[in-house]
């Protein structure tokens, strides 16, 4: 008898705790800087695309959801900084597993995974993101925690130059908003 009262007292105590519920669509919990969400393609400061259409991201993708069709840059149609550019660049978000291998593979930091995770659509076709969509900044941005405590590695420089010391570049806009 006493024991069940004890059990109920735990439940009762919780009545007076502060709720931990977050009012999700209105309140967006900031994600951590390393979070892997919607992809983004980047441009150089002068407006040229960073992607040179080398297809390395497509080769690295475990779920084969990236399609890259390269084309040559010509003097009157200069799209990227290299010799070639991606004429078609598509990511099928319905297949993507957000492993982040594409950003690890890309040697030119052209593609990174950003903060957004609200990607639901009502048709499969709408989930195939084209180059134009990926180059745009997503309209609704999910905020991110500050980079300094949550992304800078815990050890000094000499140790951390590992294979993936990329992440600070991952969300270049990280701390904003």
């Amino acid at each position: 008898m006493l024991d069940s009262v004890k059990g109920f007292s735990t439940t009762f105590r919780h009545l007076f705790h502060k709720p931990v519920t977050q009012q999700y669509p209105e309140y967006k919990r900031p994600v951590y800087p390393r979070f892997r969400g919607r992809h983004q393609l980047h441009r150089h400061d002068n407006g040229l695309e960073k992607c040179v259409g080398c297809s390395l991201c497509a080769a690295a993708c475990p779920s084969d959801c990236i399609r890259v069709v390269p084309a040559e840059n010509t003097p009157d149609n200069r799209v990227s900084a290299g010799e070639r550019h991606a004429r078609i660049y598509e990511i099928n978000m319905a297949r993507c597993i957000f492993c982040g291998y594409c950003e690890l593979a890309c040697p030119f930091d052209a593609i990174t995974l950003g903060n957004d995770f609200e990607l639901s659509e009502i048709s499969r076709e709408a989930l195939v993101y084209t180059k134009g969509m990926l180059l745009e900044k997503p309209a609704l941005r999910t905020p991110s925690q500050a980079i300094d405590p949550y992304d800078v590695p815990a050890q000094d420089e000499e140790h951390v130059l590992g294979m993936y010391d990329i992440v600070t570049a991952t969300n270049p806009e990280g701390a904003e908003s």
Partner: protein, 417 residues
């Protein structure tokens, strides 16, 4: 405890008869009722169909149908290079996801005879234990719902979120982190991790006290769980059970300490937790105790975390450091080659088991010397656990069947893979 001592305590049966994994009713009584539990029954923890034959309310026949979430992951991995296969693996046992990654990477490292930096091994310990806590929390929450207590579900899932936050902070994803890589781990911990992790430990210790208060001495809970679904040590060993279910029957077998342990556990002083009784109650208790032990292990690992690199410096395996891609042509070529072709693994056969949240989780890799595994076979604990389910349910009430199923904690992603 060494493996030899266990065999002394629990002598093997002289003649091992195969134990059927199905239970058939032994009469053709026309009043027997056959019902389907599942595949979409909330208490099946996934998509498991249990064809149950009832005599009144007593279970006389049980047949498990598995395969509803078969995704061919083993076959898929054989089409991928070793590096590209890593994100697939945690999707098998999706509750202790980090164990899957670690097992696969450890099997590959064993085949490559590769040394892993010590810091990486300790980081793997931290995250394996976090994944174990995550898995046990889900077990406890959903298991108590099956027994009619909904409050625990909310408390457990709240605590689970704290654990997932740590994964998000360090690995980039809340589940399926692909943090473990062949030769080490992907990145070093962020600065704030240590503090947040210790906060989580304090919080969890308090929570675990509450779980005990809720179920530990609750007479309704005890009546539902004590003496139900008793698994004798001999039977558990004969069925090849591992993990907390085996230890709840009093067998002190844990791969983290058996044969000297593996990875970072070799350096940590570790004693497996054992419960006596082997009933549903013991299986619930041992998981709560294991969470407590995991918290201690994480704390120990955080205190003694060695300094050093987190990735092997073998350039044949690890991608070159990021900053070199812009400066060194050689690194760039290496990077291209590793991403497109992967690294080659010498021909041979390895088996590397680890202790996941439900028991022995091991990968059997056969390599033909190319960059893709020739055959991958997973020894998953949940499939083995499910085999003994029919025997456990012999002659119990239907409500107890649900309790037994909850207490052996199968994950259907691991059973079917």
């Amino acid at each position: 405890m060494a493996a030899t001592e266990e065999t002394k305590v629990w002598p093997q049966q002289d003649i091992l008869q195969p134990v059927p994994s199905e239970l058939w009713p032994d009469s053709d009584n026309p009043d027997l009722l056959e019902i389907n539990l599942g595949p979409n029954h909330p208490s099946t923890h996934g998509v498991l169909r249990v064809v149950t034959t009832l005599d009144g309310e007593v279970v006389v026949g049980v047949k498990c149908e598995v395969g509803y979430v078969h995704t061919g992951i083993e076959k898929n991995i054989e089409q991928k290079t070793y590096w590209k296969a890593i994100p697939y693996v945690p999707r098998m046992d999706y509750l202790s996801f980090f164990s899957g990654e670690t097992a696969f990477c450890m099997a590959t490292e064993k085949a490559l005879e590769l040394e892993v930096p010590r810091r990486a091994e300790w980081l793997r310990v931290i995250f394996q234990e976090l994944a174990r806590i995550h898995s046990h929390l889900v077990f406890l929450g959903t298991g108590s719902v099956d027994l009619g207590g909904i409050a625990l579900l909310f408390y457990c899932f709240r605590a689970r979120d704290e654990v997932l936050d740590l994964f998000e902070m360090a690995c980039g994803a809340r589940m399926h982190p692909r943090y473990c890589q062949v030769g080490g781990v992907a990145e070093d911990l962020p600065k704030g991790f240590d503090r947040r992790c210790r906060e989580m430990i304090t919080f969890m210790r308090d929570q675990i006290e509450q779980y005990y208060e809720l179920i530990g001495a609750n007479p309704i809970w005890l009546a539902r769980t004590k003496g139900v679904g008793v698994l004798s040590p001999d039977f558990a060993i004969r069925m090849g059970m591992t993990g907390p279910n085996l230890r709840a029957s009093g067998v002190p077998y844990d791969l983290r300490s058996a044969n000297g342990g593996y990875g970072g556990y070799r350096d940590l002083d570790f004693q497996p937790i054992v419960e006596q009784g082997g009933d549903v109650h013991a299986r619930f208790r041992i998981r709560i105790e294991e969470m407590r032990q995991s918290l201690d292990l994480i704390e120990k690992a955080l205190d003694g975390l060695p300094e050093g690199p987190v990735m092997t410096d073998d350039r044949k395996i690890a991608l070159p450091p990021r900053h070199e891609l812009h400066t060194s042509m050689e690194s760039l070529i290496h990077h291209f080659k590793l991403v497109t072709e992967g690294f080659e693994v010498p021909a041979g056969e390895v088996y590397a088991p680890i202790e996941s949240a439900r028991g022995e989780f091991g990968f059997h890799l056969i390599s033909d010397g190319s960059a893709r595994p020739w055959r991958v076979r997973l020894h998953g604990p949940a499939f083995v656990l499910l085999q003994s389910f029919a025997k456990l349910c012999e002659g119990v009430y239907l409500a107890d069947l649900i309790a037994i199923l909850a207490s052996i904690d199968p994950v259907l992603g691991d059973v079917d893979r």
